[in-house]
Amino acid sequence: MSEYIIECRGVKKWYGEFQALKGIDFAVKKGEVIVILGPSGSGKSTFIRTINRLEEHQAGDIFVNGVELNNDVRNIAEIRKEIGMVFQQFNLFPHLTVMDNITLAPIWVRKWDKPTAERKAMELLERVKIPEQAYKYPGQLSGGQQQRVAIARALAMEPEIMLFDEPTSALDPEMIKEVLDVMIDLAKTGMTIIAVTHEMGFAKTVADRIVFFDYGLIVEENTPDKFFTDPKHDRTKLFLSQILH
């Protein structure tokens, strides 16, 4: 088996006539923390969503854990089991309690029994520091709390990989830190993470690699040190000058 947990070769994606991904070559080792940066519309979300088949790629190959992502629904199911995803808009299920949000997939997809799933859910809620909210509904929580529930919900499936798509962009400034802290802890436990985020603190402290997207291509990738201090590409320099003032 390959040394990579995720391998993408020449991944291309069109929305109608518009080409959003123009051939992405990209590989991640187990335990790596990758931060994806890039201007708006550069294809960051599209790319990470192809990894768990929320978007279908139309050319190129994607392998997750050695399983090829193709039209075979068994492969898709297999791959989705191993990938947790956290969205910008949380996407919690508003009609279910926090506990039910977290235990639904472990019970029905992983086929755990209910007590086991609930025990695991409580552990995770402790880890994201909101055990006292277990029996509330998402609508009763703050944005930061909701996003931490969303992280717990994804972790409950015991995935090998976590995808984050701008997890703090919909949050008020005072809530960003509580979510970032959880993400940083997670990175330190050795979880494989791919995160689209503009939180430079996160990128600098825990990222192993920064990947820079523009116009549907990876323009540059490097360690955070080199990426921030010595960007090679003009577009990278421009982007950095804009976000770092």
């Binding site: 768990n52 088949r53 929320l54 199911a77 989705r80 089991k81 990938i83 947790g84 995803m85 969205f87 808009q89 996407n91 919690l92 299920f93 508003p94 009609h95 639904l104 997939a105 029905w108 997809v109 998402p138 609508g139 919900r153 994804a154 499936m157």
Partner: protein, 356 residues
Amino acid sequence: MTTATDVTTTYEAPPRTEVGVLGWLKHNLFGSWFDTILTFVSLGLLYVILVPSVRWAVTKANWRAITTNILILIHGPYPQTQDYRVFIAIGIIVAMGIASVFIYRGKSTRSRQVMTLIWAISPFFIWYLLAGFEGSTILPLVEYSKWGGLLLSFILAIFGILASFPIGVLLALGRQSNMPIIKWMSTLYIEVVRGVPFITVLFMAQVMLPLILPPDVRVAGMFRAMVATALFSAAYLAENVRGGLQAIPKGQYEAADALGLSTFQQMYFIVLPQALRTVIPPIVGQFIGLFKDTSLVAIVGLLDFLKVSQSILSQAGFLGAQKEVYLFAALVYFVFSFAMSSASIRLEKQLGVGQR
């Protein structure tokens, strides 16, 4: 300077005109000059309409038209020697209703499951109680053509509701499906049925059902009407449900997909519960309409509640009792429709529609 405790522990009572009877009157009836005028106009209208009606109802009206025919109104030509079965059935349903109020509010999951099971099997049980068995002396067969009155109206409405629900949900999902054939078939069905009057569907069921079924199977008119009601209602239900489905944000589907839920699980646990919740009001409205529309089955020869009510008018003693009979019939339809409507409001509150 006040300390923090002062701020949280002391409070002022609201002004007297804001609370109690005075407050209520002010807010609800005399909030402004315009409100005040509306209040008085409404009171005047109520007086003009209600007072003579009530006076007629208690002094002039001949309610014997109703009281002597009450059994006919309840069950039509169902044989009177057997009609205790109808009342046992009503008794069972009332008892289940009362038991449910306590059990579903209670804590025990076990008894709730048992109650749900009882509800699930009760229709079959009640059906055989009413229909009886060939050759039985205890529960002799009562032909379906003898089922009438409120009993028939209820059976049509309840069956219509129960059967149209799953069909309607499937049609709504079908119309949203990615598979073209399923999508077209569902759309075609929905649009065709919604494009014709209920009476047409009733006649079609009378004519078509015998064509589809094997020739030696004879279906009672009541069954044909039941099928027609369910199939007709399903098309409207599908459109209501579709409205609910469209209100579900894309993110809900994506979250369910990302967690690895199957399409069925995604529908069952995530999409339908939310979609159905948002469309409780229109669905209940539709079911109220269905209940009232059962009065149309008289056209294909069935003796529903309205039809037997009218039949009273041809009895020698009650030739001129139109007012009493129609007022009573209207009242009965109203009471049950209103009950459904209030039940739905209660259900909405319980499920927290509108609050996210």
